[in-house]
Amino acid sequence: MDQFLQHILNGTILGGTYALLGIGLTLIFGIMRVVNFSHGELYTFGAYIVYLFAMVLSANFFVSLVLAMVLGVVLGAAIEFVLLRPLRGASIDTTMLVMIGAWIALQNTEQLVWSGVAKSITHPFPAEPLILGPVSVSWVRVFVFAVAVLLIVGTHLLIHRTRLGKAMRATFQDRETAALMGVNIGAIHTATFALGSGLAAAAGALLGPVFVVYPTMGDLAALKSFAIVILGGLGNFMGATLGGFILGFVEEMGAGYISSGYRDAMGFLLIIIVLVFRPTGLFARKERVG
């Protein structure tokens, strides 16, 4: 039973960052109709920025985290502006191929700059874990989880309480009508992509110090984000949040009770099962195939 509780706790903590990744991707898909294959690279980018500032330039750890998110937003806006803006209205396959190209180019740039050797980031948290009765968790993970939850809530508020969020939701519902009502669709697209990218960079920045940083770390992150988004239904914010936690639980349980070698397979099996039995995702409210 203790072991089970520990798995639940680990799954929740993991789920927080997964949810961040999933929300970023689902917003981009929902509003822009772009399957963002470079999502994982923004995650890697965030982790390397923390490494650059905290380890190479010996800046403050928390300042580095903030910088990683800000630069993630900037990079996202740049990618949208250069690659996606000229292709607005193009088919989903076209933008998907462009994003695959961007993914390959970005990943290998990281490889070129940082070499393939994994780097670790030291963090200022105590090494002894926090013990809560039968279970324990390291302080850095508690911090990661807290920041992830803050960011999720912040994004939620941004979408539901601000003018920008209202314009985003309008674009999501009906692009043409939103444009007719004076919403600047181009600006919304840039903002959406920048926001989604910033969240991915934040996830990378948060997990970099927990694990190690290496150039291909984004691949699995991207594939897992896809899994999360599929679970929740493409374009569904709440779905992606819950999907992140579900994937966290399933992976923990799978690794704990089936085999740790198949930990990463759980997400994909989940995708296949969900799509076979409920192709529009677990929480879909309307038809989204296409």
Binding site: M96, I100, G101, I104, F268, V289
Partner: protein, 355 residues
């Protein structure tokens, strides 16, 4: 003109090893040939049915592993007392087994994945490839996992008791790959020019309309997936008995991406496209290797892919044939590839016959 070009091309490839002595270049041609076959198989799905499968490497790898395992033999401990022993079989049998198993997995994956379309389809296919890769990595009893399957026997040609040739050298492998490539090309060509092919193109152009005209959508998609997977499996078998070692890295997503780049660059939905793309991206890395590290090469690939989508969205072959027709005013070839609406006339004709 097209016919002459095809024959000249085949003659060129047949005689190539006679005056090209460089073994390394022959090696590059063999590997490019294998990837061209895989790209042709992907083109059947991506180009003719319009479904972007990003898990195609799964079939390549399944073909490679099946062929390797059947030729090496294996034993599986099913229960504590019973062990299933599979004796090694001849390489040709293994090769065919690889094709069959890949085709069967194409059927299974097609059956499941074609329930969804668009972005969902893409993600399901990626998931399949990843699951298969993780199985190959973790089922160590069968696949040796990351230790790889070694000493895979090469193809052999023999007249029993009289003469035998094991394909340790490049030359016989070159002709074998060429032969399989030609068979694959003819298969795709005959398929897409048949009623089945027209049905596939119809549902690429407009699925609801095709369905309402009586095209059994799922059936044709699954059929395309089976043929495509079997062909990719053949490419995997060729690869495994040529390189003679296979590890879970054959399932890496990057190989799927390579195939996609080949098809898109050459021209999806054209017969010659994957060949052009396959040769370009088979030979380009070797040319670039002289003055660029692998990372820089991949960066160039990525940028190249973006450029192609921006400036030549239909690929090289349609662009060239459009240029040729402009220049020399030839009549557009019937059902000209890349013209957007291939052979509508013929499609209507068949539809008329069918009713």
């Amino acid at each position: 003109m097209n016919r002459w070009l095809t024959w000249a091309w085949v003659a060129f490839l047949l005689t190539l090893p006679l005056w090209m002595e460089d073994q390394y270049f022959l090696h590059i041609l063999i590997t490019s040939g294998i990837f061209t076959i895989a790209a042709m198989s992907l083109n059947l799905l991506l180009g003719y049915t319009g479904q972007l499968s990003l898990g195609h490497v799964a079939f390549f790898g399944i073909g490679a592993y099946t062929s390797a395992l059947v030729s090496l033999g294996f034993d599986l401990e099913l229960t504590d007392t019973y062990t299933f022993v599979f004796a090694p079989r001849p390489v040709w049998v293994a090769f065919v087994a690889g094709i069959v198993v890949a085709g069967m997995s194409g059927w299974l994956i097609g059956k499941i994945s074609f329930k969804v379309r668009g972005a969902y389809f893409v993600i399901v296919t990626i998931s399949f490839a990843e699951v298969v890769r993780l199985v190959a990595l973790n089922w160590v009893d069968l696949t040796e996992g990351p230790m790889a399957l070694n000493n895979i026997p090469p193809f052999t040609l023999a007249v029993p008791g009289v003469w035998e040739l094991a394909f340790f050298h490049k030359l016989p492998n070159y002709y074998l790959v060429l032969a399989v490539a030609i068979v694959s090309y003819v298969t795709v060509r005959r398929l897409v020019h048949s009623r089945i092919g027209r049905a596939m193109i119809a549902l690429r152009e407009n699925e609801p309309l095709a369905a309402s005209a009586g095209v059994d959508v799922t059936r044709y998609l699954v059929l395309a997936a089976i043929v495509s997977a079997a062909m990719a499996g053949a490419a995997g078998g060729l690869y495994t008995h040529y390189i003679r070692i296979v590890d879970p890295d054959v399932f890496l997503f990057i190989y799927t991406v390579t195939m996609v780049i080949m098809v898109i660059t050459g021209g999806k939905g054209t017969l010659a496209g994957p060949i052009v793309g396959g040769l370009i991206f088979g030979i380009l890395p070797e040319v670039l290797r002289e003055f660029a590290s692998p990372e820089v090469q991949w960066i160039i690939y990525g940028v190249f892919m973006i450029m192609i989508v921006f400036f030549l969205p239909n690929g090289i072959v349609p662009a060239l044939s459009a240029w040729w027709n402009d220049r020399f005013g030839a009549t557009p070839s019937a059902g000209g590839p890349g013209t957007g609406l291939p052979d509508l006339e013929a499609a209507t004709r068949t539809a008329g016959e069918a009713t």
